[in-house]
Amino acid sequence: MSLLTVSSSPHIRAARNTQGIMLDVIIALLPAAVAGVIIFGLNALFIILTCVISAVLSEFIFDKVVKKRNTITDLSAVVTGLLLALNLSSNVPLWQAAVGSCFAIVVVKCLFGGIGQNFANPAITARIFMLISFTDMAQSAFPTIVDSVATATPLSIASGVSEGSLPSLLDMLLGLRGGCIGETSTLALLIGGAYLLIRRVIYWHTPVAFIGTVFVCSFIFYGDFTATLYQIMAGGLMIGAFFMATDYATTPVSKLGKLVFGIGCGLITCLIRFWGSYPEGVSYAILLMNILTPYIEKLTAKKPFGGVKA
């Protein structure tokens, strides 16, 4: 008779672990990735692969160098690489994609302590880093599967930065418009977002608050339903609201906090879109709200049940 294990309760655990959650996020991103490759061509696929490999390799080497337990099996590096790739334009040189992905993992994530410890979203911060560093980033790519004569993204047209005609609403829904690899297909992103909600990986509070705020503000600004719909489907709003503003490490934990975070993101996005010098503001909005997260969390913490103030 061997000895019995004595350990602290509980003695059963829910099935899902960190790896399972990350796998769910990857599955949820697949429709957008596939849509991106179909719309923007094979180059999009190479960028996705480059980013993912670069991210995983960076984390592997970093953990080796600093002698930490290797964390690549939790798949979070894959998620970061994939998210970054989907936020890049398909004409970005592969070496730049690799550098950006390495920056996301090493500088933004690992140097702050690795998974769960970073205060800023790695994919977003890396994207902004690339926007500032590489001029190629500013040039949007356009669909290769249709005869596209467009030379500007819907947002730059809507904001008057560029001239041209807006794609149809159906094209917007399917993603047949200029933009980043994974951000154009609203339909694919909604399918992915719905999957995350059904699997309870994310709460509805963030995307509803974020998209809802942009919707309301745009409607007030334009006073027109169609123009508002363009605002909702254009730029990086969908991918941002479902996949980046719901990042665990960099957003508030409580449901109320998530609502506040989402509304804040929506307001900043609209400020930048309507009056800023950039046509798009989702990335900056999320990054700014990331910085406010500790304060939001502190202010929105739920009162302990039955707790009495000392």
């Binding site: 004595v6 309760s9 059963i12 739920k302 039955g306």
Partner: protein, 444 residues
Amino acid sequence: MPLFSLPGVHVPHRKNTSDMAAVKEFMPKSVLIPTAMHIGKPASVCVKPNQEVKVGELIAAADGFVSSNIYSSVSGKVKKIDSVLLSNGSYVPGVLIESDRLMTPYEGITPPEITDYKSFIDALSKSGIVGLGGAGFPTQVKLSVKDLSLIEEIIINGAECEPYITSDTRTMIDDADKIKDGIELLKKYLLAKKVTIGIENNKPQAIKKMVETFKDDTAVNVKALPSLYPQGGEKVLIYNITGKVVPEGKLPIDVGVIVINCTTVAAIADFVKTGMPLVSKCVTVDGSAVKEPKNVIAPIGSSISELIEFAGGFKEEPGKVLYGGPMMGIAVPSLDSPVLKNTNAIIALNKKDSVTPEPTECIRCGMCVNNCPFNLQPVKIAAAYNNKDGAELKDLKVNLCMECGCCSYVCPARRPLVQTNRLGKGYLREFLAMEAKKAQEEKA
């Protein structure tokens, strides 16, 4: 009824034994009865080695009011007064009795004379009955109320929210008449005007039986509750049934409620009718290592190994054996450990189910926070404990944690959050004692 029920987690039910009425034929060769099976002071042994004892004979007397009498659960001979290792790590005296397998009842047993509230409580203090849901709080203490008019509602806890356990379910089905008698006693002597029986909705048979039993009694309501763990937690049950919040440091009676487990109610009725004190307990024997899961009426003090042998023995080598369910149950160090008064289940898990998962880094998913029934923040409590930050632990109200285990259960990084909550509670107590001492010194 509150607008929203408290958060919780969906745990697997695994109520494999809910159709199995308790088997009464189990007769252990010997019993080892510890003197501490309740909250409060251990009882003091009043028998000597080689003394003959019978079923229901006093072997250890309550030491003070918050304590409990302990009676022999078999007839036979006291072998020795032994030292028993309790699950909290301390040793207490225990009485080892060799059974003569006759189960002769003690001659001195007569139904207690009860005329009013005071004599009811006096009788209970000689019943050996403690909270049988698991807490083990002496029942006479729980039912002692300064002013009976404070009691607005009595809640009978039949939630039984832990996986595997069905002993309360079987009591409600098989001993419905006893629960009825018990509730009559509570109505008569505690002047309870309203009684609510709360049962999780995964026990339709028990709900049906209770509804049938009380269909003519307008003062008794049966309430089916969602199967959301920890539905049977006292404060959770009170909130989900009445909408009342028991404030920090207060008791249910402070909001006009008394919660009592359904098996405890049946035990009270049994004792008042026959005078036989608490000597046996319905125990669910189940788990992945047990061959024939069943409900067994086990004499208190029976060894776990004999009880499992009675349930067909092990089908696989056990890795972990629990008092109670897998969410809050306590792992026993040895199969020689005895069945206690408040043992409602013995769960034996196979080697595979006994592996403690390796924790990985926290990913700040917030599941521990969003699934805590009491809105606590286990992730922050763990950080505060690791930083030995007493003031922060106080602010985070770690003292409210009931250790239900939801946070650890859902944590995808497998972090031992209940454990850090417990350590945090202990550290906070030390911290507050230090602060009080400091304040006193400054005054002096």
